[in-house]
């Protein structure tokens, strides 16, 4: 089974939209005016995105189906994966993509994260399983660069940047999934400063493979005697192969105990690993003891943006496949003139198919805007000082659970909608939609389930610094509402959003009262729904922001551009008509004091 026998379509993302968000919405090219990002400009950014685009089309997309059909297997103690992964890592290394975000000090390119995020969107839209080795390696290298002693930079970073070694994040254990405070892997300090590592890790993405010579695990464990809970967790560099002084590699007692067989995302191996089964696994401390979780949060926060981004990537590809089909497939006639003698029409002419296409397009493009906006805040935080720095940091912190979870949840619906457009064919393996539906289902789970992000948003982020983050976000949103009110195209929508924001504020006040009167369990009991509500309003804001620009551009620009801007206004209109109203039911439930779940006696349900 190869791509040729499966209906894929020919387009998996929209470059114009990526450019629109980067340059018209965010003016990302201006980031280069800051010292840290100097050397980059619109031309170098274009070159980078062009090379990403070409690679995605030539290497990643053509192997999409194959990587689903031929999944990784554990053979003779090593996980074997699709051979194209080797090319991908080599080329990613050669092109400097793995070090693109790293500092020049360690040989990186100091590209704005906003741009690298756009690149990552394109790659994952072509083939999600194809990008994880390089992506995880970037994250692991960033941790080493940020928190590990310089001597480890020399040992690991160049190999990782070159794509010769890869990195992982080794957090989850059989008894510690969502609850990281329950990590039980241990580390015992040796005389030479290294630690003996012992424990099991599960669900480790790219935890082992035959792609590269060495795997560098960033692993969480407890130093013997450390306090219970999250205050006793440390981070270690634990390579699959130890590096001798002469550079040669020797086995470090990291055993691949299994590879998970999954419903989708099959091109990427997910491993069950045993560390120190033979009492011969060594690790090296990153930073200080017992601070591991705070370090890991850097990587987790980056990974969370990636999860939301890649959910949008997969949905983008599913959307374009279904759009192509909707333009080609003849079925039925205009509902007002059903004469059977007339020829059938392409299904894109039916109102419900238009709705299903707009649903996908608006979700995908809104989510791309959300993820790039977050990366932009990360870049601005880096180059700002004082209160300004805090402002960007708080905006990013507040939006991270939304950026992770809203696209992840919606991607299940969006890819399902793509299947629906294909009708019966969508349920078959002859059309790509079902693969996207299976692939994307992981995103509401990995890097923290949606429920965890609901708790993060309502339990931590909304309240942090006395609600300062929310205040900053409201300022951003109100700016765009004020502009949108000036134009007939967006005036009504601007008022709708303003009204919903006021309701959200009232709701948040109401919930503070619940926290005081009924306690934290009642307060957080519907945090998942609060997150969903928050996500809808954030997307509404971003569509208004994009529509403001479209309003300006279509008043001034040439005609080709006008068509593009019209489409943006169409999507904004769709969002406010079909998606924003979903906030109403959520508000009703969240304001209710009927504690259905908290008061539920678990033994009652059977």
């Amino acid at each position: 089974m190869n791509n040729n026998s499966v209906f894929l379509g020919d387009k998996f993302y929209n470059r114009e939209h990526v450019n629109f968000v980067l340059f018209d919405v965010l003016h990302a090219e201006k980031l280069a005016e800051h010292e840290y990002f100097s050397g980059h400009d619109k031309d170098t950014i274009d070159l980078y995105l062009n090379s990403i685009d070409q690679f995605a089309k030539e290497y990643l997309f053509p192997h999409l189906v194959e990587m689903d059909r031929k999944q990784p297997e554990l053979i003779d103690g090593r996980i074997r994966v699709h051979p194209v992964h080797k090319d991908i890592m080599r080329i990613s290394g050669e092109n400097g993509w793995i070090s693109i975000l790293a500092s020049k000090e360690v040989g990186g390119m100091q590209m704005p994260s906003t741009i690298a995020t756009a690149g990552s969107f394109i790659l994952a839209a072509a083939n999600y399983s194809g990008v994880v080795f390089a992506g995880l390696t970037m994250g692991a290298a960033h941790l080493i660069e940020s928190f590990a002693d310089k001597k480890y930079h020399d040992i690991y970073l160049q190999k990782m940047f070159a794509g010769e070694w890869q990195g992982t994040m080794a957090l989850t254990e059989p008894g510690a999934g969502s609850s990281l405070s329950d990590v039980v892997s241990t580390a015992e300090k040796q005389e030479d400063g290294s630690y003996k590592i012992s424990g099991q890790k599960i669900f480790i993405s790219c935890g082992d493979s035959d792609v590269v010579d060495n795997v560098v695990h960033l692993l969480l464990a407890r130093v013997k005697g450390a306090p219970a809970g999250i205050k006793g967790i440390s981070m270690f560099i634990v390579p699959r192969e130890r590096i001798s002084d002469d550079g040669s590699l020797t086995d470090n007692d990291v055993i691949s105990a299994g590879v998970y067989h999954k419903m989708g995302y099959k091109g990427a191996p997910i491993a069950h690993l045993i560390f120190g089964e033979n009492d011969n696994c060594l690790g090296w401390l990153v930073g200080e003891e017992n601070k591991g979780l705070s370090y890991m949060f850097q990587m987790m926060n980056e990974a969370r943006i990636s999860v939301g981004l890649h959910a949008a990537s997969i949905s983008s590809a599913a959307y374009y496949a279904s759009l192509k089909y909707a333009n080609e497939r003849l079925q039925g006639r205009n509902i007002a003139e059903k004469a059977p003698e007339k020829p059938q029409v392409p299904i894109i002419n039916h109102a419900d198919v238009k709705r299903m296409l707009l649903f996908q397009k608006t979700f995908v493009e809104g989510s791309v805007c959300l993820e790039l906006q977050c990366s932009y805040y990360a870049d601005m935080e880096r180059v700002s000082e004082g209160e300004e720095k805090e402002r960007y940091n708080l905006l990013l912190e507040l939006l991270t659970p939304v950026a992770k979870s809203y696209p992840a949840e919606m991607s299940n619906l969006s890819t399902s909608t793509a299947i629906q457009i294909f009708g019966g064919y969508g349920f078959t393996k002859d059309f790509i939609a079902e693969q996207y539906y299976r692939e994307t289902r992981i995103h509401t789970i990995h890097e923290g389930t949606t429920a965890m992000h609901g708790l993060d948003l309502l339990g931590r982020k909304v309240m942090m610094k006395n609600g300062k983050a929310v205040m900053y976000l409201m300022q951003e949103v109100m700016k765009d509402i004020t502009s949108a009110k000036q134009n007939e195209n967006t005036k009504v929508h601007a008022s709708s959003l303003e009204k919903k924001l006021m309701q959200l504020q009232e709701l948040s006040m109401h919930l503070m009262g619940v926290a005081q009167k009924e306690g934290v369990e009642a307060y957080l009991s519907d945090a998942t729904l609060y997150l969903e509500l928050f996500g809808i309003l954030v997307l509404g804001w971003l569509w208004l922001k994009m529509a403001n620009i479209a309003n300006n551009k279509s008043a001034n620009d040439d005609s080709a551009n006008k068509e593009f801007m019209k489409t943006k206004l169409l999507c904004c209109n769709y969002f406010f008509e079909y998606e924003l109203p979903k906030a109403e039911g959520l508000l009703t439930r969240l304001k209710s004091t009927n504690r259905v779940t908290v008061n539920m006696d678990s033994t009652l349900i059977d």
Copy 2:
């Protein structure tokens, strides 16, 4: 890979709930007071359901995983399926299950459809792919019994009832999926009264297999010279093997051109068939020429109830697997006391997990009630006369698109929620949830996509006989609202539903105005959302109806029963708190006059 290596749980449905709906809500045993159903009583019904239950546990559930892993293949012109299908058909025949609904005149049992529907729910909850051969055979036999000349009864029915032959419905063609008026298969009358059949049919469930000796297709085709559109479609009996006078079978030129490989529901073969490739395929007319579609609607309406039912079946099994896991899996602590020294608790204690369980349970049980209610209307239509008969007919007609589509759509979310409860494990093949998620995805597509049912509801059913069907339904609902208002447990919910019903009425009036002013395309443009809204309100009604009984029973009954009734009130409470509010956003959108989709220029989106 067999069941043993996959986490399945041990329960796939709740017999108490089935009994509650059958006997407490519908009093289905009283159907036997009608002549047609005489001979059945509570005891024989229990015996029937017990034997179904035992068979489901012993034959169907144990092969659930295997049938997913080893899918049908076309080998030497015949589709080969899992061998357990042979046992299933044989036993279904031996036990009289295939003829259970048929009239005594043709050797059937004249069981109320309400009871047979409950049986079908149980079987499909154990293994959806395992029940389709018998189910399709029942439907095809029913068509022959209802509309074909008696001489065909003798030829086909006994073999089909015995499980020696099976039936199909052969409608869909490459150019005629949702648009049946575009069927192009042809039939040419021969001198002996038979017809020469020629054409291709796709997506034919159980269209070919090595399970039984013969396959009896109920096929739609056009007699040469017939009018265009649905007025020129006739129905034919087209067996895979022709029956000679001596009873021997000879090839009837029905070629299996392919078997579809699907994302789920893999145990059932779906075939691409070519009829008359060698100009040697004969068919026999059912009833009169050009009336085929009206006959087929009998089977389609029954099949639509089955689709909704089986979506609930699969979701039921997914729910019980996730419930078992939620009770066993330790993770995290009560949110109010997070001390890491305390032991972790089963995840069922977390509010969001409770919400996810109640979502599934309430959906499954509400949908079972909906499908059984529909079957009950079908039974009552059969045994009634005059206006009463019309009333039951109209109630059934009105609810059929809802009964097909609401559970189908919600099942995607419900099985997804089951996955979510399993966390990372839910995405792996080691746990059953992902299989249910894949299996159920077909239900919004086959027997008419959700969009088609939206058009059916808003374009036909709501308006038929000047809205008489809706009026009858409102009478039913108001009765239950009035009762529910008498009890503190349900008073508030009853008022909420009443208010929403009034809004639905207002909306329907508003839409009639749209039809007049803007035309049918605008009127029907959001029919899918109207269907969703209607479905939510219907489920609200049924939960109120069930709660009314729970109110009465818990006031009077013994304590074991009281626990059960408490759970019903809990589910009702959940539905009104979490599901009914979703109607709000739908009402807002449906009342809007902003014609986003109708006015959309299709060339704009890319």
